[in-house]
Symmetry: C2
Subunit: 144 residues, 2 copies
DNA sequence: CGGAATCCTCGATGATACTG
DNA sequence: CAGTATCATCGAGGATTCCG
């Protein structure tokens, strides 16, 4: 490899780093890209999506009803909808086995696994800071 | 410090690590705690909350109308609601200045800053993988 | 300026029934 | 089993008005 760095970072990353070294402000964000990113976050930062993501990360491949049973409180409609959305975004694969009774397996793609890893920090934060948040809420609720 | 490790990790962390070293399964999660964590995630993994969090992280202290102008598309009602919820959870401070016209400043607490940092990985993931997700969507939508 | 209060709508979600 | 289809609801959120 001639230049290993350029193979591991995107052109945007390198441009950012160079701006940082030159003490220049960060690049203006393309508003179109920003909207797409916000939309994407909006789709994945969803209660059911997060729970399904964590479940599949932990358990590997699961069937439709297995997921339904392990995601507390999800309706069959929302489960179908969530799984379809995640499949559409490339986060998981849906494998239909042509048998009777039907059998459909769901598993995270590498993309889905990488998202799960990215969210790991948020789960850890939530667990670590749960008590502090609950204490803040108690104080807030008790104000005058 | 006698034992620096025990000052930087919680008892639960150490117990987890010891179970891991002993090849034992992870501790069962208290369902009550799990619900609280899920609720917490549900509150913070919200579109407006995330946008306000990122904005305050980037800009520091801001006034009510400044936030409203910079968070694209948020209504005054949702802004008030989001800020109150974040204040209640201890993520930001609300400072009322007794002047006319009124002036109210909002700024992240250390807790809010740490959450923002935890979410950083998700934003980076979204930016890095946006093209891949959009490609997956295009392929999915074009199936048969 | 920084809200609170009110009304209203519509889309997300649940419940139910049906099916390959 | 793994959905689809249909109907019903209900509450999140927008628009508007008023106020200290």
């Amino acid at each position: 490899m001639e230049n290993p760095l350029e193979n591991r970072f995107t052109a945007a990353d390198i441009a950012d780093a160079e701006r940082y070294m030159a003490h220049e402000p960060p690049a203006e964000i393309d508003p179109r890209i920003e909207r797409l990113v916000n939309d994407l976050i909006g789709r994945i930062a969803d209660k059911w999506t997060l729970l399904v993501l964590e479940l599949l990360e932990e358990k590997g491949t699961l069937r439709f009803t297995q997921i339904g049973r392990q995601v507390e409180g999800i309706s069959q409609k929302m489960l179908t909808q969530t799984l379809r959305q995640m499949e559409r975004d490339g986060l998981l694969t849906r494998t239909v086995h042509p048998v009777v009774p039907p059998r459909v397996d769901y598993a995270l793609t590498p993309l889905g696994n990488s998202l799960s890893a990215a969210f790991c920090g948020v789960w850890v934060w939530a667990e670590r800071n749960l008590e502090m948040v609950e204490a803040a809420r108690a104080t807030f609720d008790a104000r005058d």
